[in-house]
């Protein structure tokens, strides 16, 4: 499980305030202004500029609670523009892979772990490498990043936190080169709750046991952590001591469940409308399933009204439709989803959300064939699905779909203040004035 501390080295590269920073690349007017990016349906703050953080706005704060503060301080609120963020993210990843390390784990849309083992001869020191990353990513993409370096992934993540919070590090912190005394000082100033994997509940237990800082946690015997919290915390303890237990996951493990669902911008009443949306979710989920070369054995369908509209009549229900043969065929999954929807739909309600979850996912080649060849299995179906995926990838989602039209609908996501898709749609590329 563990390797010697000296043989591993990781970097965590993290884009500062990623969504806000993406918006600022194309809209210089947002520089130095308080900016928030809101979640789907403009519900709550999912990204905050430093100016907004300074005003005390918390992550996930509901937008309706912020409106007064926003008016007072001129906060600019934008809807999330996922097409833009995905494009900018892939630029950062390809730059890191091409120029810094071929060993990369894309941990989230704005964070990547890099394996640095054996790269030492290429740089005077890893702080110089980190500064080069910052410089190049900023110059090429316009995005500000911080770089944390450490002997384990947990330490690299902590180093990133230190780089972000302490201006004197200038955005790069290499914990593999700090002295013991300096490391102790840094760790003593950080709450143990900042450590990767230490959630609110565990933090409270640690506090009760007198373990308040990262230094306290690091100096706690991992065996004690194991007896109190289990193997995951033991691993965290080991990682804090420089013993690498978490390897780079260069290929993300296949997901066990795939969920596709979304709340409606406006309530939906009719079965036909729900069906159309649900077909879209089933298609999307099927596409994700095929992209990980999986098949599923069952599909879970759910609908519910808005529980916060207390004056409305409430209804929620779900159903699992088992499939005769494990499949990833959009037509079969859509048919199963719509069959399930018909079973649970009740007229007379204002529905807020519907979606599907694909369950019991296995690998495509290991799926057992049945003597009764079902609709949606076999070579012909596979070819059709491949063609569908290729068309949708090339010409945009929903170019080809099963039972759903791509015309805009009133229940589409509410995104009132979305910036243009600057990098993914010809009609929306930014303007260069020549006057």
């Amino acid at each position: 499980m563990s390797q010697s501390a000296s043989s591993t080295l990781f970097a965590l590269v993290d884009v500062n305030n990623f969504y806000v920073s993406c918006e600022r690349v194309f809209n210089p007017g947002l520089e130095n202004r308080p900016v928030v990016v809101l979640s789907n349906n403009d519900g709550c703050a999912v990204a905050r500029s430093n100016e907004v953080k300074a005003l005390g706005v918390k992550m996930g704060a509901p937008w309706f609670q912020l409106k007064e503060l926003a008016d007072r301080h001129g906060i600019v609120a934008l809807s999330s523009n996922y097409a833009l963020y995905a494009d900018m993210s892939s630029r950062v990843v390809s730059l890191l892979r091409d120029y810094y390390s071929p060993h990369i784990e894309v941990y989230s849309i704005d964070e990547s772990f890099l394996g640095l083992n054996d790269l030492k001869p290429l740089w005077p020191d890893f702080t110089a490498m980190g500064q080069s990353m910052r410089q190049r990513i900023r110059q090429w993409t316009g995005l500000p990043v911080c770089v944390g370096i450490g002997a384990t992934k947990t330490l690299a993540k902590l180093a990133n936190h230190i780089a972000k919070k302490n201006p004197r590090f200038n955005g790069v912190c290499d914990l593999s080169s700090t002295t013991q005394a300096e490391t102790d000082r840094l760790f003593d100033a950080i709450d143990a709750g900042e450590v990767w994997g230490v959630g609110r509940r565990i933090r409270a237990h640690l506090q009760a046991a007198g373990i308040r800082t990262v230094k306290d946690l690091r100096d706690t015997p991992p065996s004690w952590l194991r007896s109190r919290f289990g193997v995951v915390m033991e691993r965290t303890g080991n990682e804090l001591q420089g013993l690498s237990c978490l390897a780079l996951e260069e290929v993300s493990p296949p997901r066990k469940q795939i969920i596709s669902s979304r709340s409606f911008g406006q309530p939906v009443h009719a079965l036909s409308d729900l069906s159309e949306v649900l077909a879209g979710h089933a298609s999307h989920a099927a596409e994700k399933l095929r992209s990980q070369n999986g098949v599923c054995h069952a599909i879970h369908v759910f609908i519910h009204t808005n529980p916060y509209q207390k004056q409305d009549r409430q209804y929620s229900n779900s159903i699992v439709i088992p499939l005769p043969n494990a499949s990833a065929d959009t037509r079969l999954l859509v048919r199963a989803a719509l069959f399930g929807l018909k079973k649970i739909y009740r007229p007379g309600y204002a529905y807020k959300k519907t979606g599907v979850m694909l369950m019991d996912i296995g690998e495509a080649q290991t799926a057992q064939g049945s003597l009764l060849l079902e609709h949606g299995s076999g070579k012909r179906a596979e070819g059709l699905m491949k063609a569908m995926d290729a068309l949708n990838l090339r010409f945009g989602r929903n170019t080809v779909s099963v039972f759903s039209s791509s015309a805009p609908k009133p229940w589409a996501m509410r995104r009132e203040a979305m910036s243009p898709c600057y990098t993914t749609r010809w009609a929306e590329v930014p303007v260069a004035y020549s006057r």
């Binding site: 007017g29 303007v431 260069a432 020549s434």
Partner: protein, 156 residues
């Protein structure tokens, strides 16, 4: 003295960049020779097999750092940049005197030719109807990227 504020100009002397890692090499598509050659004469066309021309490879040197912009206005017609054209902008190039650049002026992206000689920094239009934009001492000119091409389409 005015300064051209471009991240490119402040690049410290770093070691040479790594070679792109082999694991991430772009897919290399080789022309597929369809003729089977068990014996006899090969098809004379085979040795000319090549991939079709791709405008992306002509216009873009650095995909990661390249962005497109749409031109509004006629101040650069002398440089063959017309209203409605698509600009190819590369952020990885260090802006130099004579480059056509995308600058940020009053929170807008503006396309002009960079004049930067002997401490004098100006942005020049390529149309006599427009005066140059001059930068005084302590002014900062923010260059967003260097324009490496323009694409026009004609109504047909």
């Amino acid at each position: 003295m005015a300064t051209v504020l471009s991240l490119a100009l402040r690049t410290p002397p770093f070691p040479a960049p790594l070679r792109p890692a082999a694991t991430s090499a772009p897919a290399c598509s080789l022309p597929l020779l369809l003729n089977r050659i068990p014996a006899g004469f090969p098809s004379p066309a085979d040795e000319y097999a090549e991939t079709a021309l791709d405008l992306n490879t002509y216009l873009i040197r650095n995909t990661t750092a390249t962005f497109f912009f749409r031109v509004i206005g006629d101040s650069m017609t002398g440089a063959s940049i017309h209203d409605g054209d698509l600009l190819v902008v590369d952020r990885s190039i260090e802006p130099r005197h004579g480059h056509i650049v995308l600058a940020v002026i009053n929170n807008e992206h503006t396309v002009k030719r960079l004049y930067s000689l002997n401490g004098v920094i100006e942005l020049h239009a390529e149309n006599p109807a427009y005066a140059p934009i001059c930068f005084r001492e302590h002014d900062e000119l923010q260059v967003w990227g260097v324009v490496t091409g323009a694409v026009s389409r004609f109504a047909v």
